[in-house]
Symmetry: C3
Subunit: 205 residues, 3 copies
């Protein structure tokens, strides 16, 4: 019989995986939301539920952190990772809410490209979470997220240039800018998650 | 005779309490500033003095950190808590300064609700500081600040929707947006303070 | 013969110096960019090369951190310092890119004052890096960066007040605001660098 010395550790990996999978759901809702003919109010409502599910993951991680004597990596890194995953979800939910709240009629087509970057980043993050256990192939994930963040940044800048080109009314520009800025914040937040995972990997190596 | 083994530690608690009480003063100045018939220039001047007093608290904490061998909690948490309290004050002062600088005539009525949330958060933070010593009832404080941050967020989004509704001229919208965004930053900064206190409490538990 | 006990440590100091010197180059490119008659596209292109050089410094620091058993100061502080120097460069490059991308014709004259603050902060930061070794005169640097950040903040607020004064069209205001906000972000990022250096100095003292 082999004693499990760290009975509680697995829980953290599962909770981080839950949090990341929940973000995948959120990113897919964003893609739906900006599709033609979408029932935006209904999707924003689902997004809100998704954000609440994310909050529960975050609280479960922090609660476990509170009661665990042994943790699989530094307490501070667990705290940062949980908070940064939470940030991703918050920004995505805010973007969806603003589209509905501002009664935005038509979004520029490149917003779809922005959201596709988020969907890909979400999938990569969800795939990386189970690898925290073995600490394998995390470098590839980190490099790819950084590449996606650069791509998202380029799309975002081009989108702003188009918004300011004179094609839209000033008030419409301001509304759209809020939405594309929140989506860009979500892309940045994915990079913060990847940087924390890089920090954890550096310490373990 | 009982030896005091940690003669220097009390100083930190007092300085954090001073910093938080100073923020309460600042939040009350904000409420005054947006009241009808207020002498805005005079209040913004008081706000500037209040921000300077806050800077002195921050420097006193960092100076004491510099010369203390023993600290009541992790040096890094003391540093973060001092910086984050400083951030709250900075955002509140900036909001007040912008109201005067942009010569904003009339603020939407919901700005009062935003500022009332800040006042309540300031009071709760000031009440929590002395409890850092006993580490008691900090969870209630943390939950309530998170609730207030959510409420502030809701008010902020509704305010933006109103600003973008067509009721205001574009340039007026831009000025007002800066003010309500800085107030929202202050609400977020209160949450960062609460999260650091939660981190300290988790480590001590 | 004297044994070098810490053969790898020097590398970090050199890399931080490289990163800071690269930022000085970037700040000077910004001054050029906003001068009358500048070939903006060519300068923005040089800025992009400068940002890539900065990325390579950052990666070299993180790579060395990864493979070093002994580090001259806390791993986390090395990580923060590298990231924050990277942030400065990113904001400066973004500001330059936006000037070209938005086809901004004429920048308000006070933008030069904003950029001069960045140039001075860059020079001070580059001069401070070699002093990390001796930990001498870092306090003067920290105080001066904080003073510059306050000055930059004042210039930024006055610039915004002018942008909102009615002299410019709303869409022009929005473009200019993005540029001056990114320059202000760079000034803030210099302060974050200085705060991390202060943290390192506090731990060493």
């Amino acid at each position: 019989m082999r004693l499990r010395l760290t009975p509680r550790e697995d829980g953290f990996y599962d909770l981080f995986a839950d949090s990341a999978n929940n973000i995948v759901t959120g990113a897919r809702l964003l893609v739906e939301l900006i599709s033609d003919g979408a029932d935006r109010e209904a999707i924003a409502e689902k997004m809100r539920a998704c954000e609440h599910a994310g909050d529960e993951c975050t609280h479960a991680i922090l609660h476990r952190l509170n009661e665990s004597f042994i943790t699989p990596f530094d307490r501070e890194d667990i705290y940062n990772l949980a908070s940064q995953l939470d940030d991703v979800m918050d920004y995505m939910e805010e973007a969806a809410d603003l589209v509905v709240l501002y009664k935005i009629d038509k979004l520029p087509s490149d917003v779809l490209r922005q959201v596709e970057v988020l969907e890909r980043a979400a999938e990569l993050t969800a795939e990386a979470m189970p690898r925290l256990k073995s600490m394998r192939e995390l470098n590839e994930y980190w490099i790819e997220i950084n590449r996606l963040e650069n791509e998202g940044d380029r799309i975002h800048r081009r989108l702003l240039a188009r918004l300011f080109s004179g094609e839209y009314e000033p008030l419409e520009v301001m509304k759209l800018q809020q939405v594309v800025d929140r989506l860009e914040d979500a892309a940045d937040a994915f990079e913060h998650v990847a940087n924390t995972i890089e920090t954890i990997a550096v310490k373990e190596s």
